[in-house]
Symmetry: C2
Subunit: 326 residues, 2 copies
């Protein structure tokens, strides 16, 4: 098992070391391959990530990624999007689950769902034209893309309670009819119970009735918006992990960004990054992954938490405490 470790920028450099300490505590055989990639590197060398880096990443099985600062500079290509594309990471998986004792915006904790976002097409097609008076982007939905993402979601639904919600906007976007139809066919053939929701109604419903959902499958940008939004249910963007999964590779990344405002102080919350380690272990089929949940519950109870959660622990202290528990 070769694991590329990319801290990236800002708090990525704090939370990833904490997450790696937790991973090490499991005593599994890992060859860790550290890579310096990101905005800081771009500033220094003019490239955020070289082709050689990409080759090294491809020689690994998985990637643990912190955060990379994005800039509007048109010369700066998103590292994240490049890696997703190159490794064909077609499923962006974001579990939305409350942490015991952390109260989200609605004050409730009776939900546990997963957003499965198609990660390669839709509005991320890259097919666009920029003009002075008119610019456009092509939103592309393919049968193949819809098939594989709905298969992924159905596999997941089968492992859980077996309920799938397909999110689309086919009352306006005829192209979403294809997505919806394919998802329905897949769900039928997997024997998975399903329903569908328009993306606008779903945004409302997820906040009002998060307990209703189990596995949610949607197109790329809708998934982007809904999953960030749902972090409010958990209480903070700093608590939500994500996995980008392909047939061959997997890539794990906390949903929070590089947070330049708090970077360098050692107070960033490493729980999202630590939950990424949990997702990595689950992806590897390791049942001990669930130890991480137990460790985090223990920490939260003992109030070994960072300032964003009202505590006084440092990033390193939290990482250390989780590692010790394990």
């Amino acid at each position: 098992m070769r694991l590329a470790v990319i801290e990236g920028d800002g708090i990525g450099r704090e939370v990833i070391p904490a997450a790696v300490e937790v991973l090490d505590a499991f005593g599994l055989e890992f060859e860790k391959v550290p890579l310096e990639i990101g905005y800081a590197r771009w500033e220094r060398t003019g490239t955020a990530m070289s082709e050689e880096d990409m080759e090294i990443i491809k020689s690994c099985n998985a990637v643990l990624f912190g955060a990379v600062t994005t800039v509007p500079d048109p010369g700066y290509k998103s590292v994240l999007l490049t890696i997703r594309k190159e490794l064909d990471l077609y499923a962006n998986v974001r579990p939305v689950k409350p942490l015991s004792g952390v109260v989200g915006v609605s004050g409730r904790s009776d939900f546990d769902f997963i957003i499965v976002r198609e990660n390669t097409e839709g509005l991320y097609s890259g097919i666009e034209e920029i003009g002075h008076d008119l610019s456009w982007t092509k939103r592309v939905i393919t049968r193949k893309g819809s098939e594989r993402i709905s298969e992924y979601a159905c596999e997941l639904a089968k492992k859980r309670s077996g309920k799938l919600t397909i999110v689309h906007k086919s009352n306006v976007l005829k192209s979403d009819k294809l997505f919806l139809d394919v998802c329905r066919e897949t769900a039928s053939s997997y024997g998975v119970e399903y329903g569908d929701m328009l993306v606008d109604s779903m945004a409302y419903s997820l906040i009002m009735h998060p307990e209703k959902y189990d596995v949610v499958v949607t197109t790329n940008l809708f998934g982007d918006i809904l999953s960030d939004m749902c972090a409010a249910l958990v209480g903070s963007l700093g608590l939500v992990p994500s996995a980008n999964i392909g047939k061959k590779y997997a890539f794990f990344e906390p949903v929070h960004g590089s947070a330049p405002d708090i970077a360098g102080k050692g107070i960033s919350n490493p729980l999202a990054a630590i939950l990424c380690v949990k997702m990595l272990l689950e992806w590897m089929g390791k049942p001990e992954a669930r130890l991480i949940d137990a460790a985090i519950a223990d920490l939260l109870q003992k109030k070994i938490i960072t300032p964003d959660l009202g505590g006084r622990a440092s990033t390193a202290e939290v990482g250390n405490a989780v590692a010790k528990y394990i």
Copy 2:
């Protein structure tokens, strides 16, 4: 002043009569032109709205609209989208403001902002192709479209505290660079203080920190998603009005749909429709519009409310009480 009154389907037929009663209570000169448009009509006659209806609508100054049931039938063209297009209603305006005593999902009531959604282009371009293996939709952003919506938003911001937030996804959609740039230029030339947010971060931030925002301007589908989502802050989709504004015409519509599940029982909440009357009066420059806020506050205090808010009043009783107050 000629006002087309379209009840539409489902609860539209209950809330609009209540709203009309409130409007009548103001004793203003209105010529009301009732039109039967919608799904029910489509079922009966095969057309949801005829060209003649459209001509009648165009002979009016404004439209008060209930709700029209949408169906996936490809032969059924959305009445709403047709009217928006024909009347060139380029600004979709949705105020998000708590009603006193009604608690939204986050339990807070310290917010008061307006979402100004571009209502004619973006993913609603209608430029699309449907294939067996690939379908696409063109997301179109024009300078003209971005100019007029940002001008509308800036006018509004000037009348309020003067803060504008531009919501986009220009880190992925190059086409949104045009929208962002034009909005920035407009805000500068209006002397309006502005900031910008990525749509995913904004979805999170609006739920977590709604008090931070004042006037929010965004593209068509982002506005669609965010404004439905924000109804959760107010407490119910049944409490949110909207205005679709053009240079010549205006169209007022509660954000809730036709709600077939509760239609016909006389228990639907008419407050969103009544708040549409408020927006109509504001659009006409009538300062007495604010009487409606006072009336609603009075009702809420006296618990003359429909079952969705925990009361026992009927749709008609609520309409009647507001009309009486006025």
